[in-house]
Symmetry: C2
Subunit: 140 residues, 2 copies
DNA sequence: CAATTGATGTAATAACATTACATATTAAAA
DNA sequence: TTTTAATATGTAATGTTATTACATCAATTG
C-alpha cells in the first residue's frame, strides 16, 4: 500500500519508457515516446500510457500539465529534507524556446499553499506548479 | 498593443462563451461549451476556441491546465493590490469530487517563484498553480 | 472606393488519452 | 505442485481536445 521507498523493479516496458525519458533533454509526449519505441516492439499508445502510469506512481516521472508531456524526475536520488521521491510539490520552469525544463522545490511555496488549504479546509492531493517562459540562455 | 484595462467590448461569440462560463459553477471544456451553444448557432470547436483565446487574452477567463478546461475569472472587478485583471499569477484549488474551483492569490508564493526565476535568469511568461484535492464540503 | 484588418463559418485533420477485450506472465495460496 | 489471483501485455476501436486550411463577411482607414 505504501509507495516504494527505493527504486522498484521495473518491467520491460516501464524500463524502456523510463530510459527514453531519461536520455531526452526535453519533455516528451506519450506519442513521441511511442515513436521512439517502435523498434522495441511498441505498437499502441496504451503501452506507453500504462508504463507512464506506473512511473508516475513510483515518482520516477512527472507529468507537465501545461504541455501534455512527461519528464524523468530530476531529483538526486534522495534529498536533504525528506524529499527523495516522497516529497510534497515540485515546481517546473519550462523554456518555451529550447524546451529545457528545470525542476525545483521551494519549501516556502509549499508552506504557503498548504496553509491556504488548511485555512480553507481543502485537502490537497496533488499540486501543479509550472512556470513557462524563457531560460537564461534563450533570454539572452 | 496594451491589454485592455477595463472591460473590452466583446463580440457576439465572445459574449456567448463568457456568459456560459459565468453561469457555470464548475469548469467547462471547450466541447462542453460548444454543446451549450448549439442553439445559438455554434457548429464547430473553432468558434469556441477563438472566443476563448480572446477572453484569455483579456484576462476574463482562465484555463485550468490540469483539467483542459476553462473558468470565468473570479476576481472582483478590481482588487486591493493592483490585481484587477493585470495581476501576476493566480492559484486554483480544484475539488475532484464536486468540481468546484477556488481562485486565489498569494503574494508570498508569487514572490518566491519570481525570486527563483530572477536568480536563475529565467524570464517567466505565465505561471500555473493548481491544487487538486477535496474541498471542505466534500472532505467532510 | 480600395485596401487592410479582424471576426466568422465550415471542413478536415492532428494530437492526446481511454475503453474494451483477449492473452500471457508472475506470484501467492492451497 | 497445481490452482488461483494479480499484474503485465497486445491490439483495436473509440473518445476527447486542439489546430490547420480556406472561404466569406464586416468594419475601419488611407
Amino acid at each position: 500500500m505504501n509507495a516504494p521507498v527505493s527504486a522498484p523493479a521495473l518491467t520491460k516496458n516501464q524500463s524502456l519508457v523510463f530510459d527514453v525519458l531519461t536520455r531526452s533533454d526535453a519533455p516528451m509526449s506519450a506519442y513521441t515516446i511511442l515513436d521512439k519505441l517502435r523498434d522495441n516492439g511498441f505498437r499502441a499508445p496504451l503501452q506507453v500510457y500504462r508504463a507512464l502510469d506506473k512511473l508516475l506512481e513510483f515518482g520516477m516521472v512527472h507529468r507537465l500539465e501545461s504541455l501534455n508531456a512527461f519528464v524523468a524526475c530530476a531529483h538526486p536520488e534522495s534529498e536533504c529534507c525528506g524529499h527523495g521521491h516522497g516529497h510534497g510539490s515540485v515546481a517546473f520552469a519550462i523554456c518555451e524556446s529550447c524546451g529545457h525544463v528545470s525542476e525545483f522545490h521551494d519549501h516556502e511555496v509549499d508552506h504557503r499553499l498548504s496553509d491556504w488549504a488548511k485555512h480553507k479546509g481543502f485537502k490537497p492531493a496533488k499540486t501543479t506548479i509550472e512556470i513557462r517562459g524563457l531560460c537564461s540562455v534563450c533570454a539572452a
